[in-house]
Amino acid sequence: MARIVIIGNGVAGITAARNIRKRSEHSITVISGESDHFYSRPALMYIFMGHMEYAHTKPYEDWFWKKNRIDVIRDHALHVDTKAKTISLASGDVCHYDSVVFATGAKTNFYSWPGQDLEGVQGFTNLNDLELLEQNVRGVRRAIVVGGGLIGIEVAEMLRSRDIATTMLVRETSYWNNVLPAEESAMVNAHLAEHHVDVRYSTQLAEIVANDSSDTDIVSSDTSHTEIVVGNGQRACAVVTNSGERIECQLVVLTAGVRPRIDLAQSSGIATQRGILVDEYFATSVPDVFAIGDCAERPNGRVDLLWYTARAHGETLAATLCGERTAYRPGVFFNSAKFFDIEYQTYGVVPSAIEVMHEVTKVVTPTDSNGMQSLTWSRPDKRRFLRIVHSNNRVVGFNAMGVRLRAEVCTKWINEAASLDYVVKHIALAQFDAEFTERLRVA
C-alpha cells in the first residue's frame, strides 16, 4: 500500500483519486487550498447567474470522501521536498508521500497591463474569483471583458444576466476565429449582438485607468501572481484600447487565456517550461512525481486546458499508479461549450481556416484548404448549424452549433474514416437532439 498525495482537487486530481480508489487500497490524500470539497469549475458561472448554489455544483455528497477513504485536506502546499518525499503545508504540517501528483491547474494570464492590480480588476477561474466578482459587481454600470475566448464569453453572459452593460475587447477580427471557422464565428458574433454585448473586434487592452487619473504609475511588472493582488484602494474607472479609445467602466475582467500553475513545481526543482514537463505516463523529471491536467505539458509541447482532457489524464495516471503502466493515448478529439444560448460541440479535426465546399442549399465552387473541405447545413432562423469536414471524401471532423450530436456515432465515423456520402445519408443516426426536434437532413 503506497501513500499517494494529490495536490489540487480539480477534476484531474479528483478523477485520479477516485480511480486509484477503484483500483487499489493505496492511501490517498488530496490537498486543496481552494475548497473543502470537489466542485465543478465550469459551473462557477451558474452560481453567479443564480441557476445553482455552490452546494449544487459538488458532484459528490460530502460523506463520499470519507466513505471512499480519500483524505481531503484544506491547506496550501508550500514546498515539495522530492528527496525526503515530504510536502510542507501552510499550516506547518508535513505530509509524507510515496508518489505525489501535481494537479494544480491553471490561472489567469496577466500580461503586465498597466493598471492590472487596481481594485475592480480581476480574472475568473476559481471560487475566490467568484466571491471577488460578487463584491466587484456592486454598483457597476459597465464592465469590460478582456479576451474573446470561452471564459470571456461566459463572463459576458454572467454580467448580462445581472443587466450590466458589457463591452468585450476581442483581439481577433471575429469571435474565437483562431479556433472556429468563419461561419460558426459569425453566428456567435450575431448572437452576442442579440444579447446586447458590445464587442470590439481587433481590439486589445492597452491600459486600465485608475479613478484618480493623476496617479498613473501603478504599473506592475510582476506577472506571476498566485492570488489576486488587492490594489492600494484605487479602483479602475476606464480602459484604454490599443487604438487609443477610452471606455469608462467600473469593472474589468481579464480573460485572455490561462496558463499552467507551475510555481510550486518550479520551486521544488521539477522541470517546467510552459507547464510541468511530463512524459506520456505523466511522470515529471523527478522520480515518483507526476503532473496531470492543466498544469502538465506533454511531450509534444501541448498543454491541454480542457475539462475532458484533465479527466482523461486522471484516469490514465490512476492506472499507472496502480501497477498497470498506461501511456496517455487520447482518442478522437472532442470538446463542447455554450455561447450564451448556442450549444457547441466539436469532434475530430476542424481547422479554423477551412472553406466550405458546398452548402446544402447552394453549391459553391469547391475550394481546397490543407486537403480538407467541408459541407455545411444551417437553419439561421433556429440558430442551428452543422459542419462535416472531410479529406478526400473521408470524414475527419464535425462542428455543431445548436445541434446535439451523438458522440459515439461521430467518433466511430471518424475512426473508421467513413465516406462523406455515407455520413450525409445517415446523419440522422448522429443526432442527439430531444424528441420532436426537426431532423437533420443534410443531403
Binding site: T57, E248, S336
Partner: protein, 432 residues
C-alpha cells in the same frame, strides 16, 4: 485619446430582470381576485354570485394570463433560469413559506372544514350551473381553481420552454387532459345525470375504480356508457398501463396525462429545484412509495376477498380500511403534503413519496421498459444543472458523469434535465 461614454440601452432594464408592466398588472389582478375570494367567505356576495364569480375566478384567470404572456417577448433562445437561487419565493425564502402555509391551510379547510367554504363555493356557482346544471360544491370549486392553475401556468411553461418542441407538446398534453378529461368531461357526465367519471385515472391512483362495489355497479348497470366505463378502467389498468409503459416509460402517464403531474409540471415548475437529491431522500422515497403501493394492494385484495365471501372476512372493516387509506393517502398525503409543500420540497412530493400509481409505473419502467435517459459519451462537465432541476430528486449527474444510462423508477420523463444541460449530454430515448 477619444472618450466614449456608453449608455445601457433603456429596453434592457426590463428585458432580463425585474417585472414587466403587464406582469405587474396581471399579478395585481390575481392578488385582487384572491382578496375578493377571502372577503366573500363571510357571505358578502351571497346574493351576487355572478359578480363574485367575475371578480374572483374570471379576474384571477385573466390576471394570470396577463402575467405570464409577456414571457413570450424574449426572442432569444434558451431557458432562462437566471436568479432562481436568489429568489425568496422560489428558493425557500419567507415568501415561499407563506405560500406553503397558505396552500396547506387551503387543503386543510377543503378536506376537513368544508363549512368554512360555504360562501366561497358561490364563486363557482354560475360556472357550475352553466356546465353541469347543478349547484357547485367544494370539489367543483377545487377542480375549477386546479384547472385554471394548470392552464395559466401551462402557458407560462410554453413560454419558458418554447424552444423545445418536446416540452411544448407535453405541456399542451397535460393542459388538454386537465381541461378535457378532468374538468369538462366529468361536468358533461354530471349534466347528463350519469356517473361522474374520470377516464384518465386508474387503479391504484383511483383505487375505488377497481373495487367490487364500483365495478359490479358499472358492469351490471345495463347502461352502455357505464358498462364502457367499467371495461375502460379494467383495460387501462391491466393492459394499457403495462404496454404503454413498456414502450414509453412512465412518462406517458406522469408527465403527459395525470392531473397531479399536470399541476406539478405547470404550477409546480418554479419550485422544481427544491427537491431533495440526497441519497438519504432516495432511500426514504423507496420505502415510502412502495409501502403505499403495498397498502393499497392489500386493501384491494381484502375488499375483493371479502366481497367474494359475502362480507364474511371483514364485515364492516372494509369501509374502515378504505377510509383510513382515503384519509392518510388520499387527503393528507396527496393534498395537504403533496401540494401544500410545493414551495419548500418541490412539486413532486406526492408523486415521488406517495403515489401508488407512480410506484407501479416505476417498477414497470425500471424492469420492463425501453425508456431510459442516455448519456452522450464523455461530454459531461459535472456542473449539476440536471440534478438541480430534476423535480424527482434524481441525482442525474451521478450517472451522466460516468456515462451511464439512467433507468430510475422515479423518473417521470419530463425532459428538463436534458434541456438544462449546457453540453448536450442527456437524451430521453425509447430504445430496445
Amino acid at each position: 485619446m477619444t472618450t466614449v461614454q456608453l449608455m445601457m440601452p433603456a429596453e434592457l432594464k426590463s428585458a432580463t430582470t425585474g417585472l414587466h408592466l403587464l406582469e405587474r398588472l396581471g399579478l395585481a389582478m390575481v392578488a385582487l381576485a384572491s382578496l375578493v375570494f377571502v372577503l366573500g367567505a363571510a357571505g358578502a356576495f351571497a346574493s351576487m354570485q355572478l359578480l363574485y364569480f367575475c371578480s374572483t375566478i374570471v379576474l384571477g384567470t385573466a390576471g394570470g394570463f396577463i402575467a405570464v404572456l409577456p414571457a413570450f417577448r424574449d426572442r432569444t433562445t434558451g431557458i432562462r433560469n437566471n436568479g432562481i437561487m436568489f429568489s425568496g419565493i422560489m428558493r425557500r425564502g419567507g415568501a415561499a413559506w407563506i405560500a406553503g402555509i397558505a396552500f396547506t391551510a387551503f387543503y386543510i379547510v377543503l378536506y376537513w372544514y368544508p363549512e368554512a367554504l360555504k360562501h366561497v363555493i358561490g364563486a363557482a356557482e354560475p360556472l357550475s350551473q352553466w356546465m353541469r346544471h347543478k349547484a357547485a360544491d367544494r370539489w367543483f370549486l377545487y377542480g375549477t381553481l386546479y384547472t385554471v392553475g394548470v392552464l395559466v401556468m401551462g402557458v407560462r411553461m410554453l413560454a419558458k420552454y418554447r424552444d423545445s418542441r418536446y416540452h411544448v407538446v407535453r405541456t399542451l398534453s397535460v393542459m388538454f387532459f386537465q381541461l378535457g378529461f378532468a374538468f369538462v368531461l366529468p361536468s358533461i357526465l354530471v349534466a347528463l345525470n350519469t356517473k361522474e367519471f374520470y377516464f384518465h385515472y386508474f387503479w391504484p391512483l383511483k383505487p375505488e375504480y377497481l373495487f367490487p362495489g364500483t365495478l359490479d355497479k358499472l358492469l351490471a348497470s345495463g347502461d352502455g356508457m357505464l358498462v364502457f366505463m367499467g371495461f375502460w378502467t379494467i383495460a387501462m389498468t391491466v393492459v394499457a398501463t403495462p404496454v404503454l409503459t413498456y414502450f414509453y416509460g412512465k412518462r406517458w402517464y406522469c408527465s403527459w396525462v395525470c392531473g397531479c403531474g399536470a399541476l406539478a409540471e405547470t404550477v409546480g415548475d418554479p419550485w422544481r429545484q427544491n427537491s431533495d437529491k440526497s441519497l438519504t431522500a432516495w432511500r426514504v422515497e423507496r420505502w415510502m412509495v412502495h409501502s403505499v403501493l403495498l397498502f393499497i394492494t392489500i386493501v384491494t385484495v381484502l375488499i375483493w376477498l371479502n366481497a367474494s365471501q359475502g362480507g364474511a372476512i371483514l364485515g364492516t372493516w372494509t369501509s374502515t380500511l378504505n377510509s383510513v387509506y382515503g384519509f392518510f393517502i388520499g387527503a393528507v398525503f396527496s393534498g395537504v403534503i403533496g401540494v401544500g409543500f410545493y414551495p419548500i420540497m418541490g412539486a413532486r412530493v406526492w408523486c415521488r413519496f406517495g403515489c401508488p400509481m407512480a410506484a407501479t409505473l416505476g417498477i414497470l419502467q425500471k424492469w420492463f421498459s425501453r425508456f431510459r435517459i442516455t448519456t452522450n459519451g464523455a461530454q459531461c462537465i459535472s456542473c449539476g444543472n440536471c440534478s438541480t432541476y430534476c423535480e424527482m430528486g434524481i441525482d442525474v449527474r451521478a450517472y451522466a458523469q460516468r456515462g451511464e444510462d439512467i433507468k430510475r423508477a422515479s423518473c417521470v420523463g419530463c425532459g428538463v434535465c436534458a434541456s438544462v444541460c449546457p453540453r448536450g449530454v442527456l437524451k430521453l430515448e425509447n430504445k430496445k
